[in-house]
Symmetry: C2
Subunit: 203 residues, 2 copies
Amino acid sequence: MNFHYPNGRRYTPSVNSAKKLTPEKKWTYSNRGMTLEEDINETNEFYLEHGIATIHKKPTPVQIVQVDYPKRSAAVIKEAYFKQASTTDYNGVYKGRYIDFEAKETQNMTSFPLKNFHEHQVKHMEKVLAQKGICFVLLRFSATEEVFLLEAHHLLSYWERMKNGGRKSITMEEIEENGHHIPLGFQPRIDYIKIIDYLYTLK
Amino acid sequence: MNFHYPNGRRYTPSVNSAKKLTPEKKWTYSNRGMTLEEDINETNEFYLEHGIATIHKKPTPVQIVQVDYPKRSAAVIKEAYFKQASTTDYNGVYKGRYIDFEAKETQNMTSFPLKNFHEHQVKHMEKVLAQKGICFVLLRFSATEEVFLLEAHHLLSYWERMKNGGRKSITMEEIEENGHHIPLGFQPRIDYIKIIDYLYTLK
Protein backbone atom coordinates (compact mmCIF):
# COMPACT_ATOMS: atom_id res chain seq x y z
CA MET A 1 0.00 0.00 0.00
CA ASN A 2 1.28 3.44 -0.82
CA PHE A 3 0.69 6.22 1.61
CA HIS A 4 0.50 9.93 1.54
CA TYR A 5 3.29 11.90 3.07
CA PRO A 6 2.83 14.01 5.07
CA ASN A 7 -0.94 14.07 5.41
CA GLY A 8 -1.45 13.52 1.72
CA ARG A 9 0.70 16.52 0.88
CA ARG A 10 3.68 16.34 -1.36
CA TYR A 11 7.06 16.23 0.23
CA THR A 12 9.10 19.40 -0.15
CA PRO A 13 12.72 19.13 0.89
CA SER A 14 13.21 21.50 3.79
CA VAL A 15 16.60 22.75 2.69
CA ASN A 16 16.42 25.62 5.13
CA SER A 17 15.30 23.69 8.15
CA ALA A 18 18.85 22.93 9.24
CA LYS A 19 19.98 26.51 8.77
CA LYS A 20 20.82 28.55 11.81
CA LEU A 21 18.60 31.47 12.69
CA THR A 22 19.61 34.59 10.84
CA PRO A 23 19.53 37.79 12.89
CA GLU A 24 16.76 39.03 10.60
CA LYS A 25 14.65 35.95 11.27
CA LYS A 26 15.24 36.31 14.97
CA TRP A 27 13.51 39.65 15.01
CA THR A 28 10.46 38.52 13.14
CA TYR A 29 7.63 38.02 15.54
CA SER A 30 4.75 37.14 13.23
CA ASN A 31 4.19 33.51 12.46
CA ARG A 32 3.15 34.09 8.87
CA GLY A 33 4.90 31.71 6.54
CA MET A 34 6.27 29.52 9.32
CA THR A 35 5.07 25.97 9.32
CA LEU A 36 4.21 24.16 12.53
CA GLU A 37 7.29 21.99 12.02
CA GLU A 38 9.56 25.02 11.70
CA ASP A 39 8.06 26.55 14.83
CA ILE A 40 8.62 23.36 16.79
CA ASN A 41 12.15 22.93 15.46
CA GLU A 42 12.98 26.47 16.54
CA THR A 43 11.42 25.82 19.92
CA ASN A 44 13.44 22.62 20.37
CA GLU A 45 16.61 24.43 19.29
CA PHE A 46 15.88 27.10 21.89
CA TYR A 47 15.34 24.45 24.57
CA LEU A 48 18.57 22.71 23.55
CA GLU A 49 20.70 25.86 23.50
CA HIS A 50 19.38 27.00 26.87
CA GLY A 51 19.70 23.60 28.50
CA ILE A 52 15.95 23.42 29.10
CA ALA A 53 15.22 20.13 27.35
CA THR A 54 16.84 17.79 24.82
CA ILE A 55 14.18 17.05 22.22
CA HIS A 56 14.66 16.31 18.52
CA LYS A 57 12.58 15.59 15.47
CA LYS A 58 13.21 12.14 14.09
CA PRO A 59 14.49 11.92 10.52
CA THR A 60 11.97 11.11 7.79
CA PRO A 61 11.99 7.33 7.37
CA VAL A 62 13.16 6.35 3.93
CA GLN A 63 13.54 2.93 2.31
CA ILE A 64 16.77 3.09 0.35
CA VAL A 65 16.87 0.90 -2.75
CA GLN A 66 19.85 2.06 -4.80
CA VAL A 67 22.99 3.97 -3.87
CA ASP A 68 25.76 5.12 -6.19
CA TYR A 69 29.33 5.59 -4.97
CA PRO A 70 31.02 8.07 -7.30
CA LYS A 71 34.80 8.22 -6.91
CA ARG A 72 36.05 10.93 -4.56
CA SER A 73 32.59 12.22 -3.72
CA ALA A 74 29.68 11.48 -1.45
CA ALA A 75 27.42 8.49 -1.92
CA VAL A 76 24.28 9.40 -3.86
CA ILE A 77 20.95 7.75 -3.14
CA LYS A 78 19.43 7.17 -6.58
CA GLU A 79 16.24 5.37 -5.63
CA ALA A 80 14.37 5.50 -2.35
CA TYR A 81 10.80 5.64 -1.07
CA PHE A 82 9.06 7.27 1.82
CA LYS A 83 8.19 4.80 4.53
CA GLN A 84 5.36 4.97 7.00
CA ALA A 85 6.82 6.09 10.32
CA SER A 86 6.32 3.59 13.12
CA THR A 87 6.47 6.18 15.87
CA THR A 88 5.65 9.82 16.44
CA ASP A 89 7.90 12.55 15.06
CA TYR A 90 9.39 14.12 18.18
CA ASN A 91 10.96 12.70 21.30
CA GLY A 92 13.55 13.46 23.90
CA VAL A 93 14.20 14.06 27.56
CA TYR A 94 13.12 16.67 30.07
CA LYS A 95 14.25 16.41 33.70
CA GLY A 96 14.88 12.70 33.29
CA ARG A 97 11.42 12.03 31.90
CA TYR A 98 10.74 10.71 28.43
CA ILE A 99 8.85 13.18 26.21
CA ASP A 100 7.09 12.02 23.05
CA PHE A 101 4.76 13.90 20.76
CA GLU A 102 3.29 14.37 17.33
CA ALA A 103 2.36 17.71 15.78
CA LYS A 104 -0.49 18.17 13.33
CA GLU A 105 -2.19 21.04 11.60
CA THR A 106 -5.69 21.50 10.18
CA GLN A 107 -7.39 24.10 8.05
CA ASN A 108 -10.68 23.23 9.74
CA MET A 109 -12.15 25.88 11.99
CA THR A 110 -14.45 23.99 14.32
CA SER A 111 -12.92 20.56 14.80
CA PHE A 112 -9.69 18.58 14.40
CA PRO A 113 -10.01 15.60 12.00
CA LEU A 114 -8.62 12.36 13.39
CA LYS A 115 -7.48 11.30 9.92
CA ASN A 116 -4.40 13.39 10.65
CA PHE A 117 -3.19 10.51 12.79
CA HIS A 118 -2.30 6.99 11.75
CA GLU A 119 -3.17 3.78 13.53
CA HIS A 120 0.50 2.94 14.14
CA GLN A 121 1.13 6.34 15.73
CA VAL A 122 -1.80 5.81 18.06
CA LYS A 123 -0.45 2.36 18.94
CA HIS A 124 2.94 3.91 19.61
CA MET A 125 1.36 6.45 21.97
CA GLU A 126 -0.26 3.58 23.87
CA LYS A 127 3.15 1.91 24.20
CA VAL A 128 4.70 5.14 25.46
CA LEU A 129 1.96 5.62 28.06
CA ALA A 130 2.36 1.99 29.13
CA GLN A 131 6.02 2.84 29.93
CA LYS A 132 4.93 5.98 31.82
CA GLY A 133 6.33 8.33 29.19
CA ILE A 134 4.90 11.82 28.80
CA CYS A 135 3.00 11.72 25.53
CA PHE A 136 0.86 14.32 23.79
CA VAL A 137 -0.07 15.94 20.50
CA LEU A 138 0.32 19.54 19.43
CA LEU A 139 -2.67 20.60 17.35
CA ARG A 140 -2.62 23.75 15.27
CA PHE A 141 -5.58 25.42 13.63
CA SER A 142 -3.87 27.17 10.74
CA ALA A 143 -6.64 29.70 10.12
CA THR A 144 -6.36 31.19 13.61
CA GLU A 145 -2.78 29.99 14.32
CA GLU A 146 -3.99 28.65 17.64
CA VAL A 147 -1.97 25.78 19.09
CA PHE A 148 -3.20 23.33 21.71
CA LEU A 149 -1.43 20.61 23.65
CA LEU A 150 -3.67 17.58 24.10
CA GLU A 151 -2.43 14.72 26.25
CA ALA A 152 -2.30 11.36 24.51
CA HIS A 153 -4.85 9.67 26.76
CA HIS A 154 -7.48 12.14 25.53
CA LEU A 155 -6.55 11.53 21.92
CA LEU A 156 -6.76 7.79 22.53
CA SER A 157 -10.29 8.13 23.88
CA TYR A 158 -11.42 10.14 20.83
CA TRP A 159 -9.73 7.57 18.62
CA GLU A 160 -11.59 4.81 20.44
CA ARG A 161 -14.85 6.69 20.01
CA MET A 162 -14.22 6.87 16.25
CA LYS A 163 -13.41 3.14 16.09
CA ASN A 164 -16.72 2.49 17.80
CA GLY A 165 -18.58 4.34 15.07
CA GLY A 166 -18.48 7.79 16.65
CA ARG A 167 -17.37 11.08 15.12
CA LYS A 168 -14.19 11.26 13.10
CA SER A 169 -12.90 14.43 14.67
CA ILE A 170 -12.34 16.18 17.97
CA THR A 171 -14.64 19.15 18.43
CA MET A 172 -13.25 22.59 19.26
CA GLU A 173 -15.17 22.46 22.55
CA GLU A 174 -13.48 19.18 23.51
CA ILE A 175 -10.06 20.58 22.66
CA GLU A 176 -10.74 23.73 24.67
CA GLU A 177 -11.98 21.66 27.60
CA ASN A 178 -9.31 18.92 27.67
CA GLY A 179 -6.45 20.57 25.83
CA HIS A 180 -4.18 23.42 26.84
CA HIS A 181 -3.85 26.50 24.71
CA ILE A 182 -0.25 27.53 24.00
CA PRO A 183 0.06 31.22 23.19
CA LEU A 184 2.41 31.83 20.28
CA GLY A 185 5.60 33.32 21.67
CA PHE A 186 8.74 34.97 20.47
CA GLN A 187 11.41 32.70 21.89
CA PRO A 188 10.50 29.93 22.22
CA ARG A 189 7.72 30.07 19.66
CA ILE A 190 5.60 27.22 21.06
CA ASP A 191 6.51 26.86 24.71
CA TYR A 192 5.01 23.42 25.31
CA ILE A 193 7.41 22.62 28.15
CA LYS A 194 5.58 25.24 30.24
CA ILE A 195 2.42 23.12 29.93
CA ILE A 196 4.38 19.98 30.86
CA ASP A 197 5.60 21.79 33.96
CA TYR A 198 2.03 22.69 34.79
CA LEU A 199 0.70 19.16 34.22
CA TYR A 200 3.47 17.13 35.86
CA THR A 201 5.51 17.69 38.96
CA LEU A 202 9.06 17.24 37.72
CA LYS A 203 12.15 17.92 39.76
CA MET B 1 32.49 17.70 4.24
CA ASN B 2 31.58 14.17 3.33
CA PHE B 3 31.43 11.58 5.99
CA HIS B 4 31.58 7.85 6.25
CA TYR B 5 28.44 5.98 7.01
CA PRO B 6 28.31 3.98 9.19
CA ASN B 7 31.83 3.84 10.56
CA GLY B 8 33.36 4.31 7.16
CA ARG B 9 31.53 1.31 5.80
CA ARG B 10 29.31 1.47 2.78
CA TYR B 11 25.61 1.66 3.32
CA THR B 12 23.71 -1.52 2.49
CA PRO B 13 19.95 -1.15 2.43
CA SER B 14 18.62 -3.40 5.18
CA VAL B 15 15.69 -4.73 3.20
CA ASN B 16 15.21 -7.53 5.69
CA SER B 17 15.42 -5.47 8.85
CA ALA B 18 11.69 -4.78 8.87
CA LYS B 19 10.82 -8.42 8.26
CA LYS B 20 9.22 -10.39 11.03
CA LEU B 21 11.13 -13.22 12.59
CA THR B 22 10.67 -16.44 10.70
CA PRO B 23 10.23 -19.55 12.85
CA GLU B 24 13.51 -20.85 11.47
CA LYS B 25 15.34 -17.70 12.54
CA LYS B 26 13.74 -17.93 15.95
CA TRP B 27 15.44 -21.21 16.61
CA THR B 28 18.87 -20.11 15.60
CA TYR B 29 20.92 -19.42 18.65
CA SER B 30 24.29 -18.59 17.18
CA ASN B 31 25.01 -14.98 16.42
CA ARG B 32 26.99 -15.69 13.28
CA GLY B 33 25.94 -13.45 10.45
CA MET B 34 23.84 -11.16 12.63
CA THR B 35 25.01 -7.58 12.79
CA LEU B 36 24.96 -5.65 16.03
CA GLU B 37 22.15 -3.54 14.61
CA GLU B 38 20.04 -6.59 13.82
CA ASP B 39 20.61 -7.97 17.30
CA ILE B 40 19.56 -4.71 18.89
CA ASN B 41 16.53 -4.35 16.64
CA GLU B 42 15.42 -7.84 17.60
CA THR B 43 16.00 -7.05 21.24
CA ASN B 44 13.95 -3.85 21.01
CA GLU B 45 11.19 -5.72 19.18
CA PHE B 46 11.16 -8.27 21.98
CA TYR B 47 10.97 -5.52 24.60
CA LEU B 48 8.15 -3.84 22.67
CA GLU B 49 6.09 -6.99 22.17
CA HIS B 50 6.44 -7.98 25.80
CA GLY B 51 5.70 -4.52 27.16
CA ILE B 52 9.16 -4.30 28.74
CA ALA B 53 10.36 -1.06 27.11
CA THR B 54 9.49 1.14 24.13
CA ILE B 55 12.76 1.78 22.34
CA HIS B 56 13.31 2.37 18.62
CA LYS B 57 16.15 2.97 16.23
CA LYS B 58 15.92 6.36 14.59
CA PRO B 59 15.68 6.40 10.81
CA THR B 60 18.86 7.11 8.84
CA PRO B 61 18.97 10.87 8.27
CA VAL B 62 18.81 11.69 4.59
CA GLN B 63 18.91 15.02 2.77
CA ILE B 64 16.35 14.73 0.00
CA VAL B 65 17.14 16.75 -3.11
CA GLN B 66 14.83 15.47 -5.83
CA VAL B 67 11.54 13.60 -5.72
CA ASP B 68 9.50 12.31 -8.66
CA TYR B 69 5.75 11.86 -8.47
CA PRO B 70 4.76 9.27 -11.05
CA LYS B 71 1.01 9.09 -11.69
CA ARG B 72 -0.86 6.50 -9.66
CA SER B 73 2.23 5.31 -7.84
CA ALA B 74 4.37 6.18 -4.88
CA ALA B 75 6.71 9.16 -4.86
CA VAL B 76 10.25 8.17 -5.80
CA ILE B 77 13.26 9.87 -4.28
CA LYS B 78 15.69 10.29 -7.18
CA GLU B 79 18.50 12.16 -5.47
CA ALA B 80 19.39 12.21 -1.82
CA TYR B 81 22.45 12.16 0.41
CA PHE B 82 23.31 10.68 3.76
CA LYS B 83 23.41 13.32 6.46
CA GLN B 84 25.45 13.30 9.61
CA ALA B 85 23.13 12.29 12.46
CA SER B 86 22.84 14.93 15.17
CA THR B 87 21.95 12.43 17.89
CA THR B 88 22.56 8.84 18.82
CA ASP B 89 20.76 6.03 16.99
CA TYR B 90 18.48 4.58 19.64
CA ASN B 91 16.13 6.12 22.14
CA GLY B 92 12.92 5.47 23.98
CA VAL B 93 11.30 5.01 27.34
CA TYR B 94 11.64 2.51 30.16
CA LYS B 95 9.57 2.93 33.33
CA GLY B 96 9.10 6.61 32.60
CA ARG B 97 12.81 7.23 32.18
CA TYR B 98 14.42 8.41 28.99
CA ILE B 99 16.83 5.86 27.47
CA ASP B 100 19.39 6.90 24.85
CA PHE B 101 22.25 4.95 23.37
CA GLU B 102 24.59 4.35 20.49
CA ALA B 103 25.88 0.95 19.39
CA LYS B 104 29.29 0.41 17.82
CA GLU B 105 31.39 -2.51 16.73
CA THR B 106 35.13 -2.99 16.34
CA GLN B 107 37.35 -5.66 14.86
CA ASN B 108 40.07 -4.71 17.34
CA MET B 109 40.83 -7.26 20.03
CA THR B 110 42.42 -5.26 22.81
CA SER B 111 40.83 -1.81 22.71
CA PHE B 112 37.87 0.12 21.37
CA PRO B 113 38.84 3.00 19.03
CA LEU B 114 37.12 6.28 19.86
CA LYS B 115 36.97 7.19 16.18
CA ASN B 116 33.80 5.10 16.13
CA PHE B 117 32.06 8.06 17.73
CA HIS B 118 31.50 11.52 16.34
CA GLU B 119 31.88 14.80 18.14
CA HIS B 120 28.18 15.65 17.71
CA GLN B 121 27.14 12.32 19.22
CA VAL B 122 29.33 12.96 22.23
CA LYS B 123 27.80 16.44 22.55
CA HIS B 124 24.35 14.88 22.34
CA MET B 125 25.22 12.46 25.15
CA GLU B 126 26.27 15.41 27.30
CA LYS B 127 22.92 17.07 26.61
CA VAL B 128 21.06 13.89 27.54
CA LEU B 129 22.99 13.53 30.80
CA ALA B 130 22.33 17.21 31.59
CA GLN B 131 18.60 16.35 31.39
CA LYS B 132 19.11 13.30 33.62
CA GLY B 133 18.45 10.86 30.82
CA ILE B 134 19.92 7.35 30.98
CA CYS B 135 22.65 7.32 28.35
CA PHE B 136 25.17 4.67 27.37
CA VAL B 137 26.93 2.93 24.51
CA LEU B 138 26.84 -0.71 23.51
CA LEU B 139 30.28 -1.84 22.38
CA ARG B 140 30.80 -5.07 20.49
CA PHE B 141 34.07 -6.77 19.78
CA SER B 142 33.20 -8.64 16.62
CA ALA B 143 36.01 -11.19 16.89
CA THR B 144 34.79 -12.53 20.22
CA GLU B 145 31.17 -11.34 19.88
CA GLU B 146 31.45 -9.84 23.34
CA VAL B 147 29.11 -6.95 24.08
CA PHE B 148 29.58 -4.38 26.83
CA LEU B 149 27.38 -1.60 28.10
CA LEU B 150 29.43 1.45 29.03
CA GLU B 151 27.66 4.39 30.64
CA ALA B 152 28.02 7.68 28.78
CA HIS B 153 29.87 9.48 31.56
CA HIS B 154 32.73 6.98 31.21
CA LEU B 155 32.81 7.43 27.45
CA LEU B 156 32.87 11.20 27.95
CA SER B 157 35.89 10.95 30.22
CA TYR B 158 37.80 8.81 27.68
CA TRP B 159 36.79 11.29 24.98
CA GLU B 160 38.10 14.12 27.13
CA ARG B 161 41.36 12.26 27.67
CA MET B 162 41.76 11.92 23.90
CA LYS B 163 41.03 15.64 23.39
CA ASN B 164 43.75 16.38 25.89
CA GLY B 165 46.26 14.43 23.85
CA GLY B 166 45.74 11.06 25.46
CA ARG B 167 45.09 7.70 23.85
CA LYS B 168 42.57 7.42 21.03
CA SER B 169 40.89 4.30 22.32
CA ILE B 170 39.45 2.68 25.42
CA THR B 171 41.50 -0.24 26.61
CA MET B 172 39.93 -3.64 27.18
CA GLU B 173 40.88 -3.37 30.86
CA GLU B 174 39.01 -0.09 31.18
CA ILE B 175 35.95 -1.54 29.49
CA GLU B 176 36.06 -4.59 31.75
CA GLU B 177 36.44 -2.39 34.81
CA ASN B 178 33.87 0.32 34.05
CA GLY B 179 31.59 -1.41 31.56
CA HIS B 180 29.14 -4.25 32.04
CA HIS B 181 29.38 -7.42 30.03
CA ILE B 182 26.11 -8.50 28.41
CA PRO B 183 26.02 -12.22 27.70
CA LEU B 184 24.54 -12.96 24.27
CA GLY B 185 21.10 -14.42 24.83
CA PHE B 186 18.39 -16.15 22.90
CA GLN B 187 15.45 -13.84 23.42
CA PRO B 188 16.24 -11.05 23.89
CA ARG B 189 19.63 -11.27 22.18
CA ILE B 190 21.29 -8.36 23.98
CA ASP B 191 19.41 -7.85 27.23
CA TYR B 192 20.71 -4.38 28.06
CA ILE B 193 17.63 -3.49 30.12
CA LYS B 194 18.81 -5.99 32.73
CA ILE B 195 21.94 -3.87 33.21
CA ILE B 196 19.83 -0.71 33.43
CA ASP B 197 17.78 -2.39 36.16
CA TYR B 198 20.99 -3.22 37.98
CA LEU B 199 22.44 0.29 37.64
CA TYR B 200 19.33 2.37 38.36
CA THR B 201 16.53 1.94 40.83
CA LEU B 202 13.46 2.29 38.64
CA LYS B 203 9.91 1.70 39.78
